[in-house]
Symmetry: C2
Subunit: 407 residues, 2 copies
């Protein structure tokens, strides 16, 4: 019979978010009338804004006409759509800093992270921030780039965990970090909400260049940066074109978590040891195991990149950032220290001396509020809870009120 | 520096279809006024039908309302949508033969084939029909399940190629086939257009059960089967629930090549050697490196499964099948033998004693018609040309006319 893939078998049961879902359902079985509020998973909640929704609607109508129909991305109209979207992202998102042909449209950053595993393969050594978005580690384990899971340490062998804590302002101690092929790095950070400064990212890029490493930069929350001077892309940093690629997404800034549209930037200069361009192998991988993002979603993203769309995007981000402010203020009122929540939709609250899952359970059972236990993101997340600012305003206000009265 | 993934390096330059695109562009550079007609890639060309397009349009409008918005598939409205779609596919497509919870919604069969590589990993031995849709082989190579490429034989080491030719009625000689973990099998077949009978599929399932293998059954063209008695799903075959999974797609029957919606069926009984269910690991893989199909596409697929949608689907299939009839008749008029094109949108034309790429080039240069060279699908495709029935009627008629007058 067919043997189970030993790399999948290494993963402990349950991806973090399905596990949280199970615990939430267990609560609802015990208390069927509980009005559970989720500040857990970073799932957008507000309706699509009018201009962007109209872009999607018009796309659906257009596909029903002979003049407007397109199929795979490689037919002439499909190609034109992809080219327009790449040009729009290049101009509006990156101000020309990356060229349209360096942008690869996808169905989301998480999905591209999966395909990046196929690109780099089992032989690529990996470093991650600790804590980190679980996909970097779990994906690396699946492809075979890790050793076994060490349940006690909450880590996989063969993966370098770079602690990011208040003590180092959530930026890893690069002087003591080992050389790896890939360094996954996320700013604004999921889960800590930390936003790296220009100086920090310069140090990261220099570190990668010294080591001949590639930074896989996750910029999915870049639109939440409002402070001037904070970099929104790794490609604002000198030298990054030789040492980094960037995954990105429309999910959070325009509520496309369900519509699905993201992209990856691979600069022309990024090369393997043999001098061959990384982008060429990426094209090979994506043309083999992917068939393009939904054309309707692409039309919606195009609408998001014109003046009206960009204004709507700012409003959507403002809405969630006000939620973050309310959560952060509420936690401060409870005497809790928190990080993030400014230039970032995640608030990272510290519960000194406590276990994350214990705090998670207490908040769920007493306040009927779903959060995310920090330890689920890696060992250095122990003692923290992540609050997501994605939620209806009234729910966020009620959740914060419950925290104040029930904890 | 980072080494190139040796498994990607094994792949010869260019996935088949991008290579054809390059040759088409080269022709257009030489003859800028050529009106090139594509009967190459299986890309749908006809507008979405009214009811299905309305389903997509209404979905876009709904997402712009507070009551109708949904994000990730795991929020309550996203979950309900996925459940409805699974129930619809179970009832309308499979007549209850597979349960909703055995159906996993995706953005397409090709994309699921990529994720299946992550599921089974580098250790799974692989057999493919020869010729075959390139993704099965190229994906297996990428994950590391093959040896090196043998340019002379046009094969990869470590992969079992099961010849499917007119001599064996396009069904492999299972008595001499080696035991492998996975057997990729496609019916109606891409590229040969062959449709396996119930008896053939029973032999395939029995072979897999004897060997403890898993059949990866690609049923993406099942909707093109009109003849009574021909199986449209591997799960019509006794014993398949213990020995097969099935990938499927809305791309061709309703023109969703650009909209993106497919699914995979993994029966509860399908298990690894250790007894653990394959479906559980599939959930782990897809929840880690995938984030669900576009919710708009899911609403469109739901519309395709009601009575009006199913009637439209039949009309769309009829349209392309009439194209297939015209192509097949045209080839017969030229004195050429062809296979497929009945219960299948692909016509597989035989050019005895000639090289596929030579015939491809002759047809492209003389008739300005793009086809697909059979050898691109594997060594047993040498001497054949695949004609795709996906095209506008007038283009198909003109292409066939040009074949008659210019070859």
């Amino acid at each position: 019979m067919v043997k189970r893939n030993p790399n999948i078998a290494k993963l402990p049961a349950g991806y973090l978010f399905p596990e949280i879902g199970r615990r939430r359902r267990a609560l609802l079985e015990k208390h069927p009338d509980a009005k559970v509020i989720s500040l857990g998973i970073g799932n957008t909640t507000e309706p699509l804004t009018p201009h962007i929704a109209a872009g999607l609607r018009d796309a659906a109508v257009r596909l029903g006409t002979a003049a407007g129909y397109s199929g795979y991305d490689d037919d002439p109209k499909g190609q034109a759509l992809v080219q327009n979207l790449k040009a729009g992202i290049s101009e509006k998102w990156y101000r020309g800093r990356v060229a349209p042909e360096e942008i690869y449209i996808s169905d989301g950053a998480k999905c591209d992270c999966g395909r990046l595993q196929l690109l780099f393969g089992a032989g690529a050594s990996v470093a991650v921030q600790d804590p980190a978005y679980p996909v970097y580690v779990d994906g690396s384990v699946m492809i075979g780039a890790s050793g076994a899971h060490d349940a006690e340490r909450g880590q996989f062998g063969g993966i370098a965990y770079l602690p990011c804590t208040p003590a180092n302002e959530f930026f890893p101690e690069l002087s003591s970090a080992p050389r790896t092929d890939l360094v996954y790095f996320c700013s604004p950070n999921n889960p800590t909400g930390a936003v790296s400064t220009r100086g920090q990212l310069k140090a990261l890029v220099d570190f990668a260049r010294r080591n001949g490493s590639i930074v896989v930069f996750d910029a999915a929350y870049a639109a939440f940066i409002r402070e001037q001077g904070l970099p929104r892309s790794i490609f604002e940093i000198e030298g990054a074109r030789e040492a980094a690629l960037e995954v990105n997404s429309f999910s959070k800034p325009i509520g496309f978590t369900g519509v699905r549209l993201g992209w990856t930037v691979i600069p022309k200069e990024l090369a393997f040891e043999d001098g061959s361009p990384v982008g060429r192998d990426w094209s090979r991988v994506t043309s083999t195991v992917f068939n393009g993002a939904s054309n309707i979603a692409q039309y919606g993203a195009l609408a998001a990149l014109d003046d009206e769309g960009l204004a709507e995007m700012r409003k959507t981000v403002d809405y969630y950032m006000e939620n973050a402010r309310i959560i952060k203020a509420g936690l401060a009122g409870l005497g809790l220290t928190s990080y993030g929540g400014v230039n970032s939709p995640y608030v990272w609250a510290e519960f000194p001396g406590r276990k994350s899952w214990d705090v998670f359970t207490e908040i769920l059972e007493k306040a009927h509020v779903v959060t995310t236990p920090g330890s689920g993101f890696g060992p250095s997340g122990e003692g923290f809870i992540r609050f997501s600012a994605f939620g209806h305003r009234a729910d966020v206000e009620e959740a914060v009120g419950r925290l104040k009265t029930r904890l």
